[in-house]
Amino acid sequence: MSPNPDTSGALAPVGVAPAATLHGRLLQVSRMATIGEMAAGVAHELNQPLTAIANYAQACGRLLGRADTDPAELRHALAEITLQAARAAEIIRRLRALARSQQSARSAVSINALIRELIELVEGDARLHGVQLSLALADDLPEVLVDAAQIQHVILNFVRNSLEALAARPSGSGRVHIGSGLSPLGEVEVAVSDNGPGPTAEAMSRLFDPFFSTKESGTGMGLAISNTIARLHGGSVGYRPSRPEGACFYILLPPQSGA
């Protein structure tokens, strides 16, 4: 059912999107990209049972045209069709569940658990870049009420940036450190630091601007989206120089108990 057409002749405001809406859209873009990749995989997976069903059904058509066909053969094919259809339905059910999980679903989690889960993903990447990865997670941190996937996306973004910043260093000398802790204001912090060159003074002022990138292949979306995600969670992202050299990006999130 479509809504009633507006008969007053007044136009809905269009065109000018406030910054918050723009960021909301960017976030959507980044999610859509992930969903796009996923869709390709799902399409391939769904194609298998569909192919099997088509094959069985067409074979049945041929067998029905012959006088000497054993009904048991047809029954076998029909049972297989049922099985393959159930398999296709199961793939769709899993996709639905995944789509639901993509809608911002917040739960109280330990930030350290999120980081540990992510480490499995980035370890291989770091090894490939010849970069040493280290971890220092503070004990007894309060839980945070977050969309786990989104927060992991932010941390992953920081780590990827660091790995790329270290590309110019001789292999084996690059280091990335991931730390968690409490900020002086009692927020939960995850900081990713590296011993790379750090951003230039020119880049510094535009770090979180959408479409700003110092990388040739960069979209300029990584930090902008991270910033949006942090704000949606009532937190923030920031930059500070790392000592004695390099860059440090961090995300601050309100503790759950304080919410």
Binding site: A40, A43, H44, N47, Q48, P49, L50, T51, A52, I53, A54, N55, Y56, Q58, A59, R62, L63, H76, A77, E80, L83, Q84, R87
Partner: protein, 208 residues
Amino acid sequence: MQEPAPTIYVVDDDEGVRNSLRFLLKSVGLTARTLASAREFLDSYRPRQPGCMVLDVRMPGMSGLELQQQLNLRGAIIPVIFITGHGDIPMAVEAMQHGAFDFLQKPFRDQDLIDRIQRALERDARSRAALAQHDRIRERFDTLTPREHEVLSLMTRGKPNKVMAAELGVSQRTVEIHRARVMEKTGAASLAQLVRMAMDLESSPARP
């Protein structure tokens, strides 16, 4: 020579697709042999067995493309029909460039697959007949003595008997005897046929 019935090798990692293809092919009287991986196929493949392959491009482990390359390296003549998913057109193009017989997108019309299989089997039969012919000629040519080989080589270059006699340092009469022996042993009915047979051997087709 009585060839055994052709086998259609179906190589696909998806059990549902594999079994449904075997069922479909059986419904039109074709014998399929299903294999779950490229490795399984290589372990069981007998080059002497006539047939063709229905091969999934995308498989874990050795992909369909890699298997095709392995077969090419081994000089296999078995025609390969690739089956691909929707997003695999670039792979299909690559497969065609490496000599694939044809490709089909999943899911396909049964008649399209069966037509392609029939054509692939025809080509396989032709390749095998050419190979068998080649083998027969080879066997005959192998019975020639070194001297007769020399005469053969001069004959195929169109040298007259007089020139041959001078080059080989024998009488024209001896050359004539060698010529007759070459024609008899190779079974060539004419000089033109002999030249064709010699060319056929030089072109030496791929061995299964």
